[in-house]
């Protein structure tokens, strides 16, 4: 995997800001297919993560990959985050990391 550039924290609404770039986000898995995983972002959007994880995904999964468009990510790295996850805190993190503290992350 290409780790030359840091992955920007994104949620559903912020994905459009990073189209074509590496992003990371946490999805609450709603459907898992052979070639993709569909989930709900921490701010309630439905996103598609193309690819398939090596292990069956838990309820929450972190996806790192390149944003193809404003609701699709071509996943390269999958990390299971378990079944309990504080979505609102993560969402606030995304906003801070893309807003006033952007300079600390990218």
């Amino acid at each position: 995997m290409d780790i030359s550039s840091p992955a920007a924290f994104a949620n559903g609404g912020l994905l459009r800001m990073h189209v074509g770039r590496k992003v990371r986000t946490v999805l609450q898995v709603t459907r898992s297919d052979i070639a993709s995983v569909i989930g709900k972002s921490t701010d309630g959007y439905q996103l598609v993560a193309k690819g398939s994880p090596h292990v069956p995904p838990t309820s929450f999964v972190e996806v790192i990959g390149v944003a193809e468009n404003e609701n699709t990510i071509r996943a390269e790295l999958w990390t299971n985050f378990g079944d309990t996850f504080d979505a609102s805190s993560y969402d606030q993190l995304c906003q801070l990391a893309n807003g006033e503290f952007k300079h600390l992350f990218l």
Binding site: T84, D86, S89, Q92, L93, L96, E100
Partner: protein
Amino acid sequence: MAKSVSQDAISTILANPSPDSSSDPAEIVVQVLDLKLTGNRYTFNASDGKMKLRAIFPSNMSSEIIAGSVQNKGLVKILDYTLNDIPNKSEKYLIVTRCEVVSSALETEIKTEEPDIVLKKPKLEHESQNEAKTDLAGIILKPKQEVVSKSAAQIVHEQRENMAPVARMSMTTRVHPLVSLNPYQGNWTIKVRLTSKGNMRTYKNARGEGCVFNVELTDEDGTQIQATMFNEAARKFYEKFQLGKVYYISRGTLKVANKQFKTVKNDYEMTLNENSVVEEASDEETFIPEAKFNFVPIDQLGPYVNGRELVDIIGVVQSVTPVSNIKRKTDNENIPKRDMVVADETKKTVVVSLWNELANDVGQKLFDLADTYPVVAIKSLKVSDFQGVSLSTLGKSTVMINPDIPEAKKLRSWYDMEGKVSSMANIGMGLSPSSRTGARSMYTDRVSLSHITGDPSLGDGKPVFFSIKAFVSLIKPEQAMWYRACKTCNKKVTEAVGSGYWCEGCQKNDEECNLRYIMVSKISDARGEAWVSAFNEEAENIIGCSAEELDKLKSEQGDVDGYQQKLKEATWVPHLFRVSVAQNEYNNEKRQRITVRAVAPINFAEESKFLLEDIKKMTNSQ
């Protein structure tokens, strides 16, 4: 012009509250005493050698005073004045409108004595003293010479005379400021106002039964001290001491205050016995200020919750409930209570419960005034964790509505401009739901380690409690990690002569004993690091096994050092600690001692919420 005060100048002023400005004013020369800046004007005590009168200079004189033409102990001739009543008191208050400086500071305070009172105890000594004194009146400018010529016996005698009849007390007693009292000098008289009166309590101890009550005394400078009376003295003075009145007190004893129980800021506390002298100063001119406030902003009430320390607050009343009656479980008594919501500039609100008389009198007033959003200042509130954070009045609490103090004015203008329209949250609600139960404490008084290590005086007297989130950074393997403890009482046991262990506390031998942790470890957080002590339960939590198990690991032979491994695994693990900070004395040096009282695992979701709040607070305050 005579360089002295006009005789009976004060009486003359008192007799003429509003002098006719057209006629020539009488010669009124007074000495300026206790000159001090109050607000933006200078106040002083005007003295004619016999009586004193509280007075104030016009603001246009302030520059002259600062320049030094009007000096303390100097003389001024009052050309024009008005005499006012002090509200709620029987005293008068002199407002000087025009005056001229007669003399700069004299050597001492002028005091004239009336000869007939001195002669109550006719002795030769007295008569010569008498002469010396009246001479004093004439030779104001060089009284020091006269003082030196008196023998020590004469001076001591003089001082003692001053204490006898009340009438003379008010004219000539040397009153000591509370701040000058110490246990080694017993020859003092203080003039104080009773600012708080406790209830009479009865007690039973090894020495028998008794009764006790204590009071808080405040002097002119605002210094406070607690005074306690037992048995005979308690009975003697209980009725005499009335809240708000001014007393001359002497022949009390002082001792270093027991910091755990004191509620007043003073290193000493006073005890009065049957020989102490308490005289009411009913005709006293000087006034002693009401007790000082030490306001805590509402959003900083967290650390006080369930503590012993009482707080003062000031805020704007948002709402007041009608009176309700609460039945006290202990004795089925019905107690009136009223709640009110108070807000301050921190944009937080808090509920204040008024009990008993406060619910009825002041509470009713506040209820009626609620629509005007009055400013209320309350002293001596207890902080409890009901609904997160809430305040309750005690017997000694005092409530002032729209007090005339600068903080009140500031609050008023803040409220009228912003407060009225801003939405404010209750301080208790600002915390995440789970934290309102047991875990509450881990979030409300959260500090960083540097806050503790940076303040060496923390916990002086009474231990203070904090929550910390930190990593265990070092557990020294070579320390004495545990002690041998009695299975019954947990106290340290010694190896018995034969076999087994002897417990001094239980006075018995036991074949077996427990091992209990007394571990010292280093913890670190983003801001600093500190050494802390942990006892059995907490250390077990940190290390992950009991002391016995760790002992077993230690004595195991083999390739793998289980003991070191266990300690390693415990290192760099984050925890939420509840710690107490106290002061210990080692070789006359005070050292800070931090003890772990509770350990909790980090709840990452809660912690994230807490950190996000913190970030918000930081960005808001910029």
